[in-house]
Symmetry: C2
Subunit: 258 residues, 2 copies
């Protein structure tokens, strides 16, 4: 039995992602750049690094942090589900995946550990999901951050990354929440401003955008918010599985983003 890519026709998924993108457009601050076809960011022997907060961390074992491709090192969240799909479909391509997400992190805390937990790993593809704590911890009084500080710090982090790793492919994942659990109406519209800031940062630094909020907004037609994230912030297995599919569609170039 042999598998090979079907790359000669416009697929149902293509049309469907257009629809999903349309939904996404309602909630993001995308600049109106011309649409572009994109290729996969993944190449043989490439190194992929997932960075972020608890959503990315997902219980990973720090004792295995340096070991690529091992479930214990990758946790139980979207990063692991996406890695497992990639690695299982591509067992012989030399792909190496790491996860260095840390629970509770805000964007300035990524910067504090960036040399050891990003630059030293010299990733070819760097995927970042950060932002919900920048608002959450400000709302609960643990942090004095603002949208402007988030955008400034995120811009500085990506500029520093691009300077140290000129050829790195950067993936910026849209911060998201489900309206349940810890997520209160008082988070809005401010949370939407953090999402818009993340999109501006992604566009300024030529990063590929993964529309997680748009995805979850569309998913609410099929299951309630708590099904996807019980506390509104941390995805369930179903939420993580859905994130992994969307992440792969974007990163593997099955979707392009305007």
């Amino acid at each position: 039995m042999r598998h090979d890519i079907q790359s000669t026709r416009r697929s149902f998924l293509g049309a469907s992602l257009a629809a999903a993108g349309g939904i996404g457009a309602a909630g993001c601050a995308s600049t109106a750049a011309a649409p572009q076809r994109r290729s996969s960011l993944l190449t043989p022997n490439c190194k992929v690094l997932f960075q972020g907060d608890s959503i990315t961390d997902a219980g990973r074992d720090r004792n295995h942090a340096d070991q690529p491709n091992a479930q214990a090192a990758l946790g139980d969240g979207y990063a692991w589900f996406a890695a497992a799909g990639l690695l299982t479909a591509a067992p012989t391509t030399g792909l190496r995946v790491w996860n260095r997400g840390v629970s509770g992190n805000k964007v300035f805390q990524l910067a504090e550990r960036w040399q050891a937990d990003c630059l030293a790993l010299v990733p070819d593809v760097l995927s970042i999901l950060i932002g919900v704590n920048d608002l959450w911890h400000a709302k609960n009084g643990e942090y004095q951050g603002t949208v402007a500080i988030y955008e400034r710090d995120y811009d500085a982090l990506l500029a520093r990354t691009r300077q140290a790793l000129p050829s790195v492919q950067i993936v910026v994942c849209e911060p998201f929440v489900l309206r349940c659990g810890a997520v209160k109406d008082t988070w809005f519209p401010e949370f939407d401003h953090y999402r818009a800031a993340a999109r501006r940062v992604a566009d300024r630094h030529g990063a590929r955008w993964v529309p997680f909020q748009a995805m979850f907004d569309a998913a609410l037609a099929y299951a309630p918010p708590a099904h996807w994230a019980g506390d509104g912030v941390h995805p369930s297995a179903a939420g993580a599985a859905l994130m992994a599919q969307t992440w792969r569609d974007v990163v593997e170039g099955r979707a392009t983003v305007r």
Copy 2:
């Protein structure tokens, strides 16, 4: 923001699935047909039906069995994870997905309820995962089945389906086990004969093959058997998430099978 398909190049995923297929070849009875490029089986407004045993059932709520696209009706397994990915990527295409898997079923029990639970729904795409109970229940004395009976009954079921629904697209999922929990060495090589029989049935009836055993065999490089299925038969969330990605790759035509 707008998404669109990237369909102009051979992708990393294509090469990677070739590798996965190579692994699959070691364990299946694929006929040596010439490789074919395949299109997506999914078209706008199509009806997809998942059929099988407890792996497909995955705790679905019978009270919602007639309701397409609802999580409660689709359970918490690979069928739901695949449906959620499809529906969220394609919220406007009119796709409708049902699940009528029933825990404990063997292939002859699918036949007993086939008129109501398959033919009456007139699916455009029918996905079947059946076989582990045909062996398991024979091993534990609950059933007198054999590989020959499984293959005979499966052939008859698909012939009946094709006669009633001449245009249905059939997807046959490879029965699989992980070597842990309830799965004993005494299941082998007999279980491999059930997998081979399922592949022969798929080829005889022009069905698309989803190589779940090959997928899990490849996944063992990254996590132990119990991570994917605690009892060796029923997938964990990670196992179900991986199955959903592979099912979509095959059914959406990103992979072709020799």
